[in-house]
Every structure is written in C-alpha cells, then in structure tokens.
Subunit: 549 residues, 2 copies
C-alpha cells in the first residue's frame, strides 16, 4: 500500500495576481482527500480577453475528484479569493467555511447562482480546529485590507502548513485584531512544514505602513480644502472607508456614500458586527443642499472603472452631484498594474474641468494591504518554516519571493498552477499543468479559454470584418453580391466594399464548378483578404456565404 | 489695421504624452505667419484604438493656412516628436530644420513617404539664428535621452520664447553637450516672454540623476553574472546603448546588437558624428560560439513589444540565441504607463524558463530623460520667464506643472490642444479645439479618429459578430438562411447559430412585405440581437443581407 503524503497544488493564483484557488491533499497517491483554499476570479482586459466578464479557475481537475473534496476554506472577502465560489459550488458541492463577514459575502456569491444558505459554515470559534477528512484547519486572524482576513493553519498527519492568505503586518489596523507576533512565534514551536505565503508585494522594498498612519494626513487634507471632497478607495477596505468617514465628520463634513459597493460593504460590516460605529451618512438628495465645504463623498471606482461613481462624477453629474473648481478628488488606493490608463482618463477629465485630483504618488493617504519585502522576511523569521512556498503572484513574483527566502536561509519551492508539491519531501511530484486551464464568464455562459473566441475577437478588433453574400442566379448576370464591412475601410466612401465586390466577381468568373461550396467560400475569402491587404494594408476576418451555388 | 501679436497653439502634446506638434505665429489677427515645432506620433492601445498603427495630429488647421507656414523645427529624434513628419509634409510642404543626427532620422520619415532630401535643412551653426518669416529661431543644445536634443529660442517682434523640447538637467551626459546653466542665465537677461516647458515628469519628486551615475552599477552587474546578459533599452538612447556596450567590453564581454532599431540608431549616430568610439560589435552567427560569460546582447523591446528582440528571446530562440538559467536580462528603461502588462508578460516568460530578469525597480541601471519636479523649478529660476506654459503632458501633468510654477511665483497658463495663447497678453484668445482632432494610420490609410471604425472594432471585440444571409426563394419553403458567427457562442456547438436561424425564421413569418429591404434587415438584426442578449447575455454586432426579397 502506498504511503500517505501531504500535497499542495495551486489551480489559480500561482502564475497571476488574482484567481486564487489552492488545493491541499492528504492520503496515498491518487487517493488523497482534498480541501480547497479560496476560489477567486480575475478581471479581463482588452489586450488579451476582450468582452470577457470574469476569468475563473478551471475546476475540471477538482470535478473529476469531487468525491474526495472535503470542503472549501475562504481566507477573506476579496473577489480574487471568493468571486468564483458560486461557479465552483455548481461543480463541486462541499461545505464552505468562512468567518462571519466573509461568509456574508460568500452567501451573495451562492445566491447569485441560486444556492441557499445551507452550504456555508460560519466560523465563529477560532480556537477549535475544523475537521475536514484528515485535515484540521484553524482560522488565524491576520491583518489585510478587508475585515476578518485570516491565515489558515492546515494540519494533517503529513505536516503543518501555514497558509497566509493575503496579508500585511499591521500592529494598529484600526478594526479587527492587530498583527500579533506572539501567535506566530508560538506556532513556530509546533514545527511548520511549509509557509505558503502571499507574494504580491515582493518587489516593494520598504517596510509596510500601518493603516493608522494615514489619519493625520487625511485630517490635514480635509480641513485645508475649501470645496467638496470626493474620496475613493476599495469599498471592501472597510477600515479605510470608516477612517475616511470618521476624519471627515471630525472636520465638520457630512459623509455621502456613492456607488452600490460602498453601501453593500459598509452594510455587511455593520451586520456582521465588524464595526458598530460607522458615522451616520447623509442621503445624496439631502446632501446636495449642504454647503460644499461640509461635504465628503465616499465613492467607488478607485481603479478608473468607467461605470463606477468616480468615473461618473468625472463625466458630469452623478446622483445630483457635480464637482467644480475648488473641489478635490483624493484617490486613496494604489492603481493595480494594467489600470493606469483607466485611472488617468478619469483624472484627466477632472483636471480638464478644473477639479484637482490628488493621485497620491507619495502615498500619504494610502497604505498597501500586502506584506512588503521586509515584512515577508519578518514573517519567515517568526515562523521558521522548513520550506517557503510563494503563492499569489505572477511567475516573476514567485521567483523573487523564492530568492528572498533563499537569501534568508530558507528552503523554497516555486509551485506554479497545476504543479503538485509533496510537502514532506519538499519536491514537485506531479505536473497537471496541461490539464489546468482557465474559464471565462462571457455574458452568462462559461467557456473555456481555448475555444478560439477570444482570438477571433482580437483579430476583428485589429483588422475588421468583411462579410459577403453571393447569391447565384440562373444565369451569371443574375448573380447578386452583397458586401458588409465593419471596422474597416473608412466607412463612408464604400471603396472597400467596391473592391470586395470586384474581387468576388473575378473569383466567380474563374470558378470551376467541381468544387463544393465550402471550398469556394474559402477560396473567395482568401482572395478578398489578399486584395484588401494589398490595397489598404489590413487583413480582415472574412466570411463568405454562397447560396444557390 | 489689427495689431501684431505673437501666439502659441498646440495641436498635439498638450493633452497627451506623445504626438507633439506646436504652432507659433506672429502677425495681425488671422494673418499670422506660422512656424511648427515638431510633428510626432503616438502609439495605439487595445483599449481605445485597436488595430491602429499610429496616432497622428490632425493637420487640417495647418493645411487650411499652409500659405502662411514658414517651416518646421524638429527638437530631437524621438518618434513622438518627428514620427508624423512624412505625413505632415504631404499636406504642408515647407522646409524642415534639424540638427544633423535628428535630420538623418527625419530623412527616413520623408523617404518612407517618397520625398527627397531637398526639404531638410541641416542645422550645423548653432550661433546664427534661422530666419523664418518674422521669426528668428536658434537651436540650443539641451540634455535628454537622445543625441543632439535641442531647446529652441523662438524670437519674433512680439517676444522671446524658450521652447524646451523634451529635456532633463544632466551635467555629465556622456555624449553631447552637458547641461550648461550659464547659457540659460545669460538668456534670462534678454527677457523671456514664455518658458514653454516639458511636463512629462512633473509627478516625480526627486532631483534627476545624470546618465553618468549608472556606469559603476552596470560594471558591478556585468562582472557578477556567470552567464550571458541581455540588456534592453530604447535604441535611440545612444548614450545608454554606448555606455552599456563599453562597460560590457571592459568586463570582457563581446557585444551583439539584436533588433533592427539598434543597428539603425547606432549607425545614424556614427554617421552623423555623434559618436566615434562605439565598441566593435560581433555578428550573431559568430557570437553564438562564444562562452556565455563573454556575451552581452543589446536588445530592442524594452517596452515589451511582442515582435522586438527581447520578447522573441523570451519565447525561445532568436537569431540563434536562447537564454537559459544562469543568464540574466536587465531592463535599462522605465516602463511607459500602459505598457506594464506587455513588459510583465515578457518577464514572466523568462522567469518561467529560469532566466532571471532585473526589472530595475530601484533604478540602478536607468535614469530618466525628463526633468523631474525639482529640475523644472531650477529651470524656472534660471530663466525667470514672464510666464510658464506647460507642454507635453496629459491634462493632469499640465495642471500640476502650472501649480508648481505658481508655487514658485511664476505666472502660468494651461494651453490645451486647439487653444491659442496670446504670448504678449498672456491669455487664451481663441479655441479651435472643436476643429482639432486626431488622425489614425490604419494599415496604409489615414483616417479621422471619428469615423466610427474604432467604435465598431471595440464593439466586435467585446460582443462578437453575427452575420446572416437570407435568400428568398419563390416559395417560402425555399428560403435559405445562412448564419456565420464570429467571436461568440462557444464556437463548437452551433447553438447560437441555431438560435439565430430560428429568430430569422420567426421574423420572416411575420414580415409585412410593404417594407423595403433595408428596414427589414434592421428589424431582423434587432430581433437577433435581442434573442442572443436574452439567451447568452451578449449583444453582438449583427449584419443581415437579404437577397431575392
């Protein structure tokens, strides 16, 4: 009989920032019982995934082994850690464990997919381990930019793993439990087989700063401004949202929440008892009558999202408010790489209408939620693990994190999506990466990343589309050629359409009627593409439909 | 008779980074004689301009006044300052003035559009002013990240303007003239009406660093690495390219240029006499036989451009070279906002194949070519202008730069593209912004930004395309419906096509034959879009072609 082993395999998050999904297993080879940590999404971009609503991990590996899956443990309430829960639940229906605030956000994900409340096990007692098959799992409070973020202690007969989730070291986080070195020191005495650790900020050199450090700067800003203030941050950063609101109230301003996510997150935090002292907010319809220097708007859309409150304000009126010269906008968040242009568009629109935007290049009004390089080192030294396993990052982050661990004298293993690590033997023992892809939510369908749909969209976006219908009549002179081109040929002058029609005509003249319609359609398409390429330098996607042929 | 006035109007560059084109005029209102400073391009992106090859300024304002245009003055050899010269020359054929190295790059732009050499006036004598109508223009050497960058002293009876072009303050630039405070101090005594000044780095707080500061760090790196080194930077940064090559040779490495732009720029610099001591390079075919620790590849593609040498190396072999674990890649440039993901893709590919990439987050191996905040202040204080006019930047940069000038006690005016400034009266006197757009090079056609082509492409990229050909037969039963969908409906299962066909069938059944084919095509298209939206949540671009109707 094969020996038992404890394994770790990421299915998302170890190759990208976002889409976190990690699997742990214990048992004999091929019969391990499994638990899942997190099930997150990633957002699309026009360069690689146009029109895609969400990017999800590929659940098929888990689905094939679903009898062996014991549960899902959710570390915290960010979309990149729980946004895929509903879709996962449809495929692998197992209990979901989360602390109270996180559970309330998990529930929304299940609701959206039509599941009830019964699958979520709310974790209130942090001292007793949850048993899931051979695993004993404990939630340990850790500081991050969302309430109730937790690391997980994952214990099996094969070893003890500390899975950090996303975290920072914050000894004065304003809400929730402070980072407590004592917890981690005590834990280190139990002997940690692996520290599986957040890598997102490994390229940031300075020590991280506490949430509490930005209060004075916010207060200075809020008193110095003569007009209205709009402050934007991630709504899920409830500590920040509350801090901004409290500082505003102390500076004599009324707080208005703008954007659905602000209401949703503050609501969830109050309901779950995370906060009980959120300042009373004013309704937009009342607030518009207040003097401008008495107003603070807390707005969604810190990443430049075009439909969020901040972008709407930059376009003009939103919920009755319009910012004018003398007002300011303060961005209290870091721009996620890839969102720079979206944020710049919003800032430039404000700037052009005379509204000053504080982008906070000097980070006076923002601190990161992730552990910087120095904090990662501190965590390693506190926990003294037998091995560091970098998670949550692109490949370059994982590599840098592994090098950092090595420079601190720790063994480390880079485990990319689809690779399986034997935790006891500290080596990669299987590679499923060719079976592990991604899924896309496109409209309301979930499609695989490799259907060719995205490739076709990118081609259409770059080269345009030409469609031609050719209807053969009884005699050649009766043949009708209709052309529709989209995104090509300058639209107005119909020169491209003319060129296409002539090309088709020439093709038809040379037709040898022995070939089937599919072959003829392809031949004509090739001729059209070649003709357009020659004439205007574009290679459109061409589709030809023959009828009566 | 109207009084003479000196005016300034940007047609590009004052609202974006890139696409610089500035107009100065002198004369009575509406009859000013004009000169142009720079004619640059901007690069497209998938989010806003998919498939567009280049973004150019709109020349129509100038073309309408071309009898009054006296010349084009080109400050330096970057694409965002001279990339549009050939297209401008086609519309406004006037002499082009540039220093020798810049002129050689300008000539390539004219060659590409089929113009000869006669239009370019090479400027060798920097002491004598060039006369162009009422203007006297002098080229003044200024430091930047390309050889022979120049500021312009633009003098007319209406005043004296110092137009900086792109610049930094570098007292030890390694090639070309060092930044010389004396020049600017002497100039300030002549009384500067306006300092028209580069804004790109206004958000950078620290004092700029000299090109010469990075040599020791490069040498340390080159000696410490055991394998091959690939170093990438902008090829036009000839000083950097030469510095890397020289340091490599001193560390016992042979230098290989990879990428067409590297050969082109080094060649132009040698030919024009900018440098005469570029180390002898080795041909790739020879170099592949050298030991790896004797190799330094100087590669194009520092911005992650997919076809450039660096990206090709990250994909595997290029010109016989393949990087392997132990080799390193050093990125000796700043990532331009918007290119982060492209660069990250290249880095992650190297990382996954075990090749370490030094992204240089700490800027050990790179210095910026633009004046930071402190340098802008220094320039203002050296020149003591009556007014600061921020140029080359997005609106947020211009605003910040104007605020900086104000905080230093200088009057400033924000002049966006299409706004005309009266330099003597220091106020905006006309707004042509509704007549000033942009042009796109798309394939080999130049189209206006507002044709709708780009909007259609973006829609197709997000939503997909459905085309339907309906051929009516004599009897209803003979009607043929052919569907081609692209970028929608999961490709394989044909469910979408089926749905479309049924929708068309239903529409035809209800047809009232009194309507024309255009109206019917539109009705069917609306029904299809609605049906697909309902079924799969996408709103494709739909085109319907009826025949025999």
């Amino acid at each position: 009989m094969a020996a038992n082993r404890m394994v770790y395999m990421p299915l998302g998050g170890a190759g990208e920032i976002g889409m976190n999904l990690y699997v742990y297993g214990f048992g004999p080879k091929g019969r391990e019982q499994l638990i899942i940590v997190d099930a997150g999404v990633m957002f699309s971009d026009m360069e690689t995934t146009p029109g895609i609503d969400l990017i999800l991990p590929d659940f098929s590996w888990l689905e094939e082994r679903r009898q062996r899956v014991m549960g899902v443990f959710v570390t915290h309430a960010h979309e990149d850690h729980l946004g895929a829960l509903g879709y996962l639940h449809r495929r692998v229906k197992v209990p979901i464990y989360a602390r109270r605030f996180t559970a309330s956000i998990c529930q929304r994900k299940l609701d959206a997919e039509g599941f009830g409340t019964s699958s979520i096990q709310m974790v209130r007692d942090l001292t007793t381990a949850i048993e899931a098959g051979p695993f004993r799992v404990k939630f340990v409070p850790i500081t991050h930019s969302v309430p109730e973020a937790s690391a997980l202690i994952i214990e099996s007969p094969g070893g003890l793993v500390l899975h950090t989730g996303d975290f920072k070291i914050d000894e004065k986080p304003l809400i929730g439990e402070a980072f407590d070195s004592g917890i981690w020191q005590r834990l280190s005495k139990e002997g940690i087989s692996a520290l599986v650790c957040d890598s997102t900020n490994v390229f940031f050199d300075r020590e991280g700063r506490s949430e509490s450090t930005i209060g004075p700067a916010l207060a200075d800003l809020f008193t110095s401004v003569k007009g209205a203030i709009a402050a934007t941050t991630f709504a899920s950063n409830v500590s920040r949202v509350r801090q901004i609101a409290q500082q505003a109230v102390e500076c004599g301003r009324s707080v208005v929440l703008l954007g659905a996510a602000m209401h949703r997150m503050v609501g969830a935090a109050v309901e779950s008892g995370v906060i009980d002292d959120f300042p009373k907010c004013v309704d937009p319809s009342e607030a518009v009558r207040l003097p401008r220097n008495r107003l603070l708007l807390l707005t969604t859309g810190s990443q430049g999202e075009p439909r969020a409150a901040t972008a709407q304000l930059s376009n003009g009126k939103f919920r009755g408010f319009q910012l004018v010269p003398g007002d300011i906008v303060v961005i209290s968040s870091r721009t996620i790489p890839g969102n720079e242009r979206a944020v710049a568009r919003v800032v430039n629109r404000f700037s052009a209408s005379g509204v000053k935007v504080i982008e906070d290049h000097r980070e006076l009004y923002h601190v990161s939620g992730h552990a910087n390089r120095q904090d990662l080192t501190r965590m390693q030294r506190l926990l003294k693990p037998k091995m560091v396993v970098p998670m949550h990052g692109e490949h370059r982050h994982l590599t840098e994190h592994a090098e950092l661990a090595a420079s601190n004298g720790f063994h480390s293993e880079i485990v990319a999506n689809g690779s399986m690590l034997d935790i006891g033997r500290r080596k990669i023992i299987a590679d499923y990466s060719d079976q592990v892809g991604r899924n896309y939510l496109d409209g309301n369908e979930i499609i695989s990343f490799d259907t060719g749909i995205v490739r076709d969209r990118l081609r259409m976006a770059r080269e345009g589309v030409v469609m031609v219908a050719v209807t053969f009549g009884r005699r050649q002179v009766e043949t009708e050629i209709s052309v529709r081109s989209i995104g090509i040929g300058n639209g107005h002058d119909k020169q491209t359409d003319q060129l296409v029609a002539e090309t088709v005509q020439a093709c038809i003249g040379q037709l040898e009627m022995r070939e089937g319609p599919d072959a003829v359609e392809r031949q004509i398409a090739v001729a059209i593409r070649r003709g357009i390429s020659h004439a205007v330098g574009k290679k459109p996607v061409v589709r030809v439909i023959l009828s009566g042929y």
